[in-house]
Symmetry: C2
Subunit: 196 residues, 2 copies
């Protein structure tokens, strides 16, 4: 987060809640820009932080889930993802909990892989993307009543094919997956003394 540019920050003159429900919080702010101009009705969406995980098994299969998304009204392949609950002791534990619940996979080696925002203009929360390698099947799925999720194991070539065709449209998932593929390909080029 680049905080050097505080001189570009907007001044909040007034802030009200327009919606404050369990699943949606909307704030309307009257703001003043550094150039003196004002926006009387700038809307902000407050959500808890979100997590997702690029989970890869010992035999190099990527664990994806397939589910319906009502905003676009379509069903597609996704990374396992969810909300960082207040009760979770850390963001990584949130991601581990989601992976276990949605897919039954766990263990392995975990690291924070990317910190992204779905929209830094409107959303005040972040999405933390984890990389988990050498995960293994520990249990069956344990879904909530509102979840209908199937689990799919894909090779890296199948993931690349999916990404090339925008088969994963959720940008906060496409970004870390492309980052994983991109960094791997760049490393391979470098090891072969090749450049882009």
């Amino acid at each position: 987060m680049d905080k050097r540019d505080d001189k570009m920050a907007w001044k909040v003159l007034k802030s009200d809640y327009v919606v404050k429900e369990p699943w949606l919080t909307v704030r309307r702010e009257h703001v003043q820009l550094p150039n003196g101009n004002e926006i009387p009705d700038y809307y902000l969406l407050d959500y808890p932080d979100w997590v997702n995980v690029i989970a890869i098994t010992k035999d190099q299969k990527f664990i994806l889930v397939r589910q319906y998304r009502h905003g676009l009204g379509y069903t597609s392949m996704e990374l396992c993802a969810g909300v960082a609950e207040k009760e979770d002791p850390s963001l990584m534990v949130s991601a581990q909990r989601e992976l276990l619940e949605e897919t039954g996979y766990g263990n392995g080696n975990w690291s924070l892989f990317a910190e992204l925002s779905v929209n830094p203009g409107t959303h005040t929360n972040m999405t933390y993307c984890f990389l988990a390698t050498d995960v293994e099947k520990l249990a069956e799925q344990n879904l909530e009543a509102t979840e209908d999720i199937s689990v799919h194991l894909l090779t890296i070539d199948e993931v690349i094919e999916l990404l090339r065709n925008d088969g994963i449209k959720q940008s906060v998932q496409a970004a870390p997956l492309w980052k994983y593929i991109g960094e791997k390909a760049l490393e391979k080029l470098q090891n072969s003394s090749l450049s882009l």
Copy 2:
């Protein structure tokens, strides 16, 4: 868009507008899942479609802009982006208009590069990402009163460094940039008879 899975689609029992303002539209839907379970208050955000552009000059510089984003309260490097206005004859024209207004660059060779969603669970709109090569400086910036945007020309190595450090947190921009880098690196590997 995979429409084969209509059997997974939710049935809308009731739909109301909670907010219907020029800059924000929120719908609350009472939905029924295929398994019979119901969600009485599922919130959807209706926005117009968005566009952004990976613009590259004839001497291979990436055109980025730097601006403040009030959701995260930070200033950062971004792709040139904006709203597909109703008056624009096509999405590509929207992207060309935004690039010219925000940076003064235009012309070159344009193609649709990625179709993404900031969040297919909540957002009903799409973001269309264009690739524009060989663009050239045509004019000065022509900003709106609420815009304070500086233009920056980066080499591909500077873009990669920025992406590696999550310097571009807006996932709908990080995703197409990583896609561009990733596809380029994969192509180079393939041309050298190497694989991932």
